[in-house]
Symmetry: C2
Subunit: 669 residues, 2 copies
C-alpha cells in the first residue's frame, strides 16, 4: 500500500542491494553479544528456578542448590565442548538440523527442526517475560502491566530485526557487555564482602519464612524433587546452539571464530551461574512458586499484592543495598540483556526457517531475504507466535519455563548422536593416523556430550511433563507433520510441473475468443476492439441476463453502434454471473477439446482503496473460477479511470522499489 | 469457500429463483406483526422512560405521567393519520426518503436517509437490549450476561432474515399477537381489579423510596424536566414509519392494506401505552435512572446488585402476582416481541439501503438481492453496526435510548414538509373540486403532523442533547458526507465510462506478445504455446534475474528445448519481480504508443486453500500492477494441478449455484 511505504522506510530503512550481503557479516566482538546474549541472559532466571523448586520441600534443602548449580555448570562445559566440534565439522549454519540430516536422515533432522522452532519461540517469550520482571523490580508500574509491556518489547525487537542483522549487532553489543560486567562485579564484590570482609549478606527476603506442604521429603520423592530442580536449572543451557547455528554470519575464518566465541561464552556463563547461586544461598534469599500464599512475612501470608523480585535484584540488594545506583544499574542491564536474548531467536529462527524452506519443508516465502536483506517473513512469524504465547501465559516466567528447554535438549541429543555417527563414518575412510587420533578424540567428546544431554533430556521430560511440558510434546509432532505435508506438496508439484525431457511447444488447434459484456461502456468497447485485433479463429460476445430490461437495452445499443461481433445472451435465474459463463466456456471445450478458449474481461481500475469497496467483485470471482477450467486463457483488458492514472503517475515518480498497489484487482461493474 | 457451502445452505436454505419474488408478498395479518412489532414493542420501554425522568424530581411528580402519556398518545394518533396520507401518495416503499426526494430535493432526502439509517441501527440495539432486560426479569442469569445474550439474539435474527422475508413473517406472527393479547389482558384485568373490585394494586417496588437531588423543581427547570420526560416517552412513536416504508411488501391493494394496518397498529399502541402508564401509577411503582444509589429499601440504598425490573414486569407482578404463570408469560412474550421489533429494522434497513444504492448513494452491492431473495449485504451491515452499539453501551437500554428517536423525528418532520409541498403542488394543477377538497383535507392533516413532529423534534434535541444525542448529530452528517462522496464517485464513473455517441471499435495498430517466464516448467511451456498460437505481431519471452545461477540454468534449458521465441533477461538488484516487468512493458509502449502489449502469465492453480499459502503471490501482485498500465492486456494461462482438477470436478457435480472458489488466484511460482 502506498500509504504504508513512508512509515515502512522510516522504520526499516531503505531497501538494500543483494551484493551488499557481505557487509552484514559479523566480527567476534559483535557476534558474541548477538549470539551469546541468550545463553548469558539465562543466568537471570535459571538460578532462581532451582530455589523455586527446592522451596517446595522447604528452605532446609536450599543448601543443595550449590551442588545442583555445579552440576549445571559441568553440563554447560560438556555441551560447549561438544558444540566446538560441531562448529568445525558443519560450518554452514544448519546446526543440529544439518548434522541430523546428514548423519541420521530426514526424520531425525525434522525432529530437530520441530524442536528448535518451538524453542526459539519460547526463547522470545521467556526472555521477554523475564526481562519485564526484572524491569518491574526497579520500575513498579512495569510489573503491574507485564503483558502490555512484553508485547511492546516484542514489537520493538521485530522492527529492529526487520532493519537487518548488522545494525542489530551494533545496537546490542553495549548492553550485553554491560550486563556481563555488572553481574561479574556483583559476584566478585559479594564474595569479597562475604568471605574476606566477613560482612553478613542479607537479602530483602532473608527474614521471611516459607510454608512447605509438611510432607517430609525423603527417598524417591526427594530424588525426584532434586532432579526437577536440576532440570529447571538447565534452562541456563539454552542458547548454546545459537552460535553453532549462526556460523555463516561470522567473518572468516568462520569456524574458528565461532568456536572461540563459544568458549568465551561458556566460561562467562558458568561463572555467573555458579556465582549467583552461591550469593543467593549466602544472603538467605527466599523464593517460592506461589509467593502470595507460601511466603510468610512476620508469620502472615504475603498476599496477592506481593511482588517477588528475581534473584539478581535480591542479591544486588544484599550486596549493594536496595535502590542503590548499582542495584538500579543491574536491574536495567538485566532487563536489557533479556530483551536482547530474545534477539538471538530473531537471528536463529529465520535462518533455520530459511534452511527448512530451502529443503522444501516450509513455505518458500520463508526462503528469501526481504528488501533489507533480513528474512522478513520468518521474523514476523516468530514475533506473532511469541506474542501469542506471552498473551496466553500472562507473561509469567515460571509457567512459560515449564515448556522450555525440552526442544533444546531434543536438539542437543539428536545433534550429538549425529556427531558420533559423523566421526564413526569418517573414521571408516580416513587413513592418516594423526587425523584419526584427532577424530577419535572428537568422537569421545561428542559421546560424553550425548550421554550427558540424553540423560538430562530424560530428566527434563519426566520431571516437567505434568507441569506443562506435555504441550510441547503435542506441538512438536504437529509441526513435524505440517513440515512433512509441505514437503509432500512441493514434491508432488515438481512431478506435476516438470515437462517430459523432449517436450517443446504443442500449439492448440484453434483459439476461440469470448468477450464478456455487462454494459456497452468504454472498457467493453475497448475489450471488443482488442479481441478483434487478436484475430482469433472465432469471436463471440457473451452477456449474462440478470434482468430482461437491461438485456434489451444492451441489444438495442449493440445494434445502434453496429458492433461487428455476435452477441450471445446467457440466462441466470439465480442472479449469478459466474455459473452461466463457466458453463458456456465448458460447452465450447466439450465440442472441440483440442481448442483453447480465451475469455476477455473488460475491467476498470480505480485508484483509491475506498473506491474498490463500491464495486462488485464479480471480475475477481469469475477469473478465479475460470482459472480452474482446463484449456482456458483469461485476458483482463483494464481501463484506467482518472484516479488510477494519477496513482500510477505518482508511483512511477517514486523510488522505483516495488510498492503494493492500493487495489488488488480491476472491477467488472 | 466450498466448506462454507453446506452450513450456509443448512442455515439459510436453498437459493431461490428471481421469479419466486411474488410469493414473498405479505397478507395484512402477517404484515402487521412484521412491520408493527417495532411500534407495539416500544410500549415495553417507552412508559418507564417517563417515570425514570420524573424520578429525578421525586415521586411527587409521578402523577404528571398520565398527562404526558396522553400527550404521547395524541402525538401517535396525529403521526398515524399523517402517515396514512403518505402510504396512499407514495406507495413505492421509498417512505419519507422518497417524499423528501420528490418534494424537497436530494439534500433533504439524504438527510432523511442518514437519520433513518442511524435509527434502524438503534432500533435493533435498543429493542434487543430491552428484550434481554425483560427476559432477565424472569430468568436471572440472562440479566447477568446481558451483552453476550444480546449478541446471540442479533446473530439469530440475522440468520433468520438471511433466509428471506416470508418465512420471517410466519415465524414472527404468533409472538406479536401473543404480546398484544397479553398486555391488553393485563391492562383490562388490572383496571377492572382497581376500579371495579377496588383491590389495591401494589408493585414490588411500591414501598421503596426514591432519593431526589433535593433541589425543588419549579418554573423553567420543572418545565424542562417535564419536556424531557415527554421526549423520552416519544420513543413509543418509533416504528410508525416502518409500515410506510414497507408498502411494496404488502399484497394488492398495497396502499389500502398498508393504511388499514397502520390504523390498527396505532389504536393498539396508544391503548397499551396509556394503559401501562396508568397501571404503573396506580400500583405505585418506583423506577430510577441510578437505582443502585437512588432507590432506598428500608431507608438503605439498593446497592449494585439490585436489578430494576422493567415496567411490564412490575405491573404484571402487581396485577397477577410475582412469579405467577401470567407474569412469566408476559416476560416471555415481551422479550420475544422486542427481539422481533428489532426484526422491523431488518426489513426496513436493507430496503432503504437498496433504494439508496439504486440512487447511487450507497455501494451497489447493497442494491441486489442475495440468493435467498433477501438483501443479504444490507442485513449483514445492519447486524454488525447494531452489535457494535450494543457492545459499546453494555446493552444498557437507558443509555442507548438517549441516542434514539432523533433520527425518527428528523425523518418525520422532513417527510411532513415534503407531504405539505406535495399537496400544494398537486393543488396547483388539479381542476376537479371534489379531488381538490380531498387534497386540502390531506394537506391539513399533514400540516398538523408537521407542526407536531417539528415541535417534538426540537424538544427532543434540546432535552436530550447532553445525554448522548450529540453522538447522533455527529454520526448523521458523517453518513451524509459519505453518501454524497459515493454518489460523486459513481457520477464521475458514468462520465468516464460512457463512450461518445458514435464510438465503435477502434482497433490498435499492433499487438506485442510478452510471455513471463520464471522456470521452464509445464505451465510456462503451455503459455508459450498459447502465445505463439495467438499470432500477435511480435512475441518475446521475458525473465527477471534474481540469481545469476537460475538465469544461466534457464537459458541453457531454453537452448536445449529449442524454444522458437527470443528470451529477454531483466536485471533486478532489489530481488523484486514487479518493477522490472512494469518498466519493460512501459518501454514498449513508449516507443509505439498506439500499440497494445499483451502480457502472458503462466500460472498454476492449486485446489486446497492451504496449498495457496505455500506459494508466493507474485502473479497476483504483478497482475495488479499491470492493470494500472494503459494499453496493456494481461492474460493468465492457468495450469490445473491434480488437486485443482479434482476440486473442479466435485464442484461441477454440485448443485450448480455459484460457489466460491477456495483459492482466489493462480500462482506464478
Amino acid at each position: 500500500m502506498k500509504f504504508l511505504e513512508v512509515p515502512k522506510r522510516l522504520l526499516l530503512g531503505r531497501p538494500m542491494r543483494s551484493d551488499r550481503l557481505g557487509e552484514t557479516l559479523l566480527k567476534k566482538r559483535i557476534a558474541l553479544p548477538i549470539f551469546a546474549s541468550d545463553a548469558l541472559s539465562s543466568v537471570a532466571y535459571a538460578p532462581q528456578e532451582i530455589f523455586l523448586v527446592l522451596s517446595i520441600a522447604g528452605t532446609t534443602y536450599f543448601h543443595s542448590s550449590i551442588w545442583l548449580a555445579l552440576g549445571v555448570a559441568f553440563l554447560m562445559l560438556v555441551v560447549v565442548a561438544s558444540y566446538r566440534q560441531n562448529v568445525h565439522a558443519y560450518p554452514s549454519g544448519g546446526g543440529d538440523y544439518e548434522v541430523a540430516m546428514v548423519n541420521i536422515g530426514p526424520t531425525g533432522a525434522l525432529t530437530v527442526a520441530s524442536a528448535l522452532l518451538v524453542d526459539y519461540v519460547l526463547t522470545v517469550a521467556v526472555s521477554v517475560a523475564a526481562g519485564v520482571d526484572n524491569l518491574g523490580s526497579a520500575i513498579h508500574p512495569v510489573g503491574e502491566h507485564k503483558v502490555v509491556v512484553a508485547m511492546v518489547v516484542i514489537v520493538v525487537l521485530t522492527l529492529i530485526n526487520l532493519r537487518g542483522v548488522k545494525e542489530a549487532g551494533l545496537t546490542f553489543a553495549v548492553p550485553t557487555y554491560a550486563f556481563a560486567f555488572g553481574v561479574l562485579l556483583l559476584i566478585t564484590w559479594g564474595l569479597f564482602k562475604d568471605f574476606v570482609l566477613g560482612d553478613d549478606l542479607k537479602a530483602p527476603t532473608a527474614d521471611y519464612q516459607i510454608v512447605t506442604d509438611h510432607r517430609s521429603y525423603a527417598g524417591l520423592a526427594l530424588v525426584f524433587l532434586m532432579l526437577r530442580a536440576f532440570a529447571s536449572g538447565c534452562a541456563a543451557l539454552t542458547g548454546v546452539e545459537a552460535i553453532a547455528n549462526g556460523v555463516p554470519a561470522f567473518r572468516e575464518p568462520k569456524s574458528k571464530n565461532a568456536a572461540t566465541t563459544l568458549a568465551i561464552m561458556g566460561t562467562i556463563a558458568v561463572t555467573m551461574f555458579a556465582g549467583l547461586v552461591a550469593l543467593g544461598l549466602r544472603s538467605h534469599i527466599k523464593l517460592s512458586e506461589h509467593p502470595e500464599s507460601e511466603i510468610l512475612i512476620n508469620g502472615l501470608p504475603a498476599g496477592p499484592d506481593y511482588h517477588q523480585d528475581p534473584i539478581i535484584a535480591q542479591v544486588a540488594a544484599a550486596v549493594f543495598g536496595d535502590g542503590s545506583f548499582a542495584f538500579v544499574y543491574l536491574a536495567a542491564v538485566t532487563a536489557m540483556i533479556l530483551f536482547f536474548a530474545a534477539n538471538t531467536a530473531y537471528n536463529g529462527f529465520p535462518l533455520l526457517a530459511s534452511v527448512l524452506a530451502h529443503d522444501r519443508f516450509l513455505p518458500r516465502q520463508l526462503r528469501q531475504r526481504g528488501d533489507r536483506l533480513a528474512y522478513s517473513n520468518g521474523i514476523v512469524l516468530l514475533a506473532v507466535a511469541a506474542a501469542g504465547l506471552v498473551y496466553a501465559f500472562d507473561a509469567e516466567v515460571t509457567r512459560l519455563i515449564q515448556l522450555y528447554i525440552i526442544g533444546v535438549f531434543v536438539s542437543f541429543t539428536l545433534g550429538q548422536i549425529g556427531m558420533v555417527r559423523h566421526w564413526t563414518r569418517l573414521l571408516g575412510t580416513e587413513p592418516d593416523p594423526a587425523v584419526r587420533a584427532k577424530m577419535r578424540r572428537s568422537r569421545v567428546v561428542n559421546s560424553i556430550g550425548l550421554s550427558a544431554t540424553g540423560t538430562v533430556l530424560v530428566i527434563v521430560l519426566v520431571t516437567k511433563f505434568t507441569h506443562g511440558a506435555y504441550l510441547v510434546l503435542i506441538a512438536m509432532p504437529i509441526l513435524f507433520a505440517i513440515m512433512k505435508g509441505i514437503r509432500k506438496h512441493y514434491d508432488r508439484l515438481v512431478v506435476e510441473l516438470t515437462p517430459p525431457k523432449d517436450a517443446g511447444l504443442t500449439l492448440p488447434s484453434r483459439i476461440h475468443g469470448v468477450v464478456l459484456i455487462s454494459r456497452l461502456h468504454t472498457p467493453a468497447l475497448r475489450a471488443l476492439a482488442f479481441a478483434r485485433a487478436s484475430r482469433f479463429d472465432t469471436l463471440t460476445a457473451v452477456t449474462v441476463q440478470i434482468s430482461p430490461e437491461a438485456t434489451a437495452h444492451l441489444t438495442r445499443e449493440w445494434a445502434t453502434r453496429d458492433i461487428p461481433v455476435p452477441l450471445t445472451v446467457l440466462d441466470s435465474p439465480y442472479r449469478d454471473v459466474t455459473g452461466p459463463v463457466v458453463d458456456y466456456v465448458r460447452s465450447i471445450r466439450r465440442s472441440s477439446p483440442r481448442d483453447v478458449v480465451c475469455v476477455f474481461i473488460p475491467e476498470y481500475v480505480v485508484g483509491r482503496w475506498w473506491e474498490q469497496l463500491l464495486h462488485n467483485q464479480t471480475a475477481l470471482r469469475l477469473k478465479a473460477r475460470l482459472l480452474f477450467q482446463p484449456g482456458v486463457m483469461v485476458t483482463s483488458v483494464p481501463w484506467q479511470l482518472g484516479s488510477a492514472e494519477s496513482l500510477e503517475a505518482r508511483r512511477a515518480g517514486a523510488s522505483g522499489s516495488g510498492e503494493e498497489p492500493p487495489s488488488p484487482h480491476g472491477v467488472l461493474d
